[in-house]
Symmetry: none
Subunit: 137 residues, 4 copies
């Protein structure tokens, strides 16, 4: 129950999590964040929007990235410091998203820089970004 320490980490290490986005995920994510935007919750509204139907919350994918850091790499004990997110494409319910992180630089003061990417089942990039995390000691 302890993730990799700074010394155990090497540039190029990566980890990922894959999950199908369901309507239930969107309902619960909306419930706990308060983001009840009609783009996610109103099919009549959403069908008339540029996306032609309800989409998932972009921040749900950011949650998957967080899951990879906290559970896999570096893993438990990691402290999340910074994250940048570029939302590149909408995610619809039923899509299967892979959140991947890769260590690209070991920084001073025990910090690490990772690239963070979410892709869908067709390898379309839906989220890009980078994170700075502090691995467990």
């Amino acid at each position: 129950m302890k993730g990799k320490t700074y010394d155990e980490l090497e540039v190029g290490m990566s980890a990922s999590l894959t999950r199908t986005v369901t309507e239930a995920d969107v309902v619960m994510f909306g419930g706990v964040t308060g983001d009840l935007n009609p783009a996610h919750f109103n099919e009549v509204y959403a069908a008339a929007s540029p996306f032609k139907g309800r989409i998932a919350h972009g921040m749900l994918g950011a949650g998957y990235i967080s899951a990879v850091f906290g559970m896999s790499l570096p893993g438990p004990g990691t402290i999340y410091l910074e994250q940048t997110l570029g939302f590149k494409a909408p995610v619809r319910m039923g899509e299967t998203i892979t959140a991947s992180v890769e260590l690209v630089e070991k920084l001073p003061k025990g910090r690490c820089r990772f690239t963070t990417t979410c892709t869908n089942q067709d390898d379309t990039v839906v989220i890009t970004g980078e994170a700075i995390v502090l691995p467990p000691r």
Copy 2:
């Protein structure tokens, strides 16, 4: 059910959402993101950690920011393009978090730049950052 357009928006406009973080929020956020990190789900582990107890997912606060954009300012029809997040302090269950956004710059191509901040009930800043969004047309 339509947010403010680019032309209707003015630098300095702001909006916020305030919500108490409950244990149920953390359970559901973890369930839908897959982030079952022991820092959030194992009190014995967490009590022995630097945070001295379970904390909420940092990305939950990012969800609150997303909620303000999608529901208040600019509001429905907004397309989320970019977000930076600095996690400055842990959030415990029972804390009451306010997510605030403020328009700081109207950019070319119909885009807007906002500062995004989450503070707790004691005005401690827990998340800082900026976002680029595309208001509805």
Copy 3:
């Protein structure tokens, strides 16, 4: 709000509960148990598996059996002592499962032995087993 006592129970008594398994049930069951196995959560993975798609958690059906004991027969006040489970067939989302229990033997010390079976809408047996419970006094 009190179930049947040992003296009120007779061999051959039975009760059941029927429920359609939804995607939301699977998402929430996985969230609260931590069982985010890709067989339940990753459609791309599951489609390539022997089951040709996502299936529900087998233990969800065990939860239905527990529900019959605690709510119907013997009912409130029952103490669950033992359960055996044989998982005979996968359950897909959309299937309608009936969990049935039947009293087959009154044991010493106030205990009762039940057969416990889950079947789907086509009468295919998906779970078999037996339970020992202590009815309310």
Copy 4:
């Protein structure tokens, strides 16, 4: 995303999952299984019961065992065949439960027998049992 095969498994291998049981877990577990037994949902009733307060569903611990099989050992691709459960002690909300599995015998036809145990934060055994699973090929 593939668990250990029969050949990769050795007697004595073990894995576990630890999680604090929250009120939200009980609410959601009850919602998805239909087990709304007053022992779990009615504090007035439960306070007057032998357990002196609401307890969690015993089958929730069985779900943790299922999680270990499906996610850790043998891991993804495992088919759950049989499980016996002995409920030895009640679990209250706030308790931290560890579900552990240990391979005790490699059986014919690619099957494996595991002991399965749940203990609480004080090392009190709350669930005992055994399982037969079919590891991935």
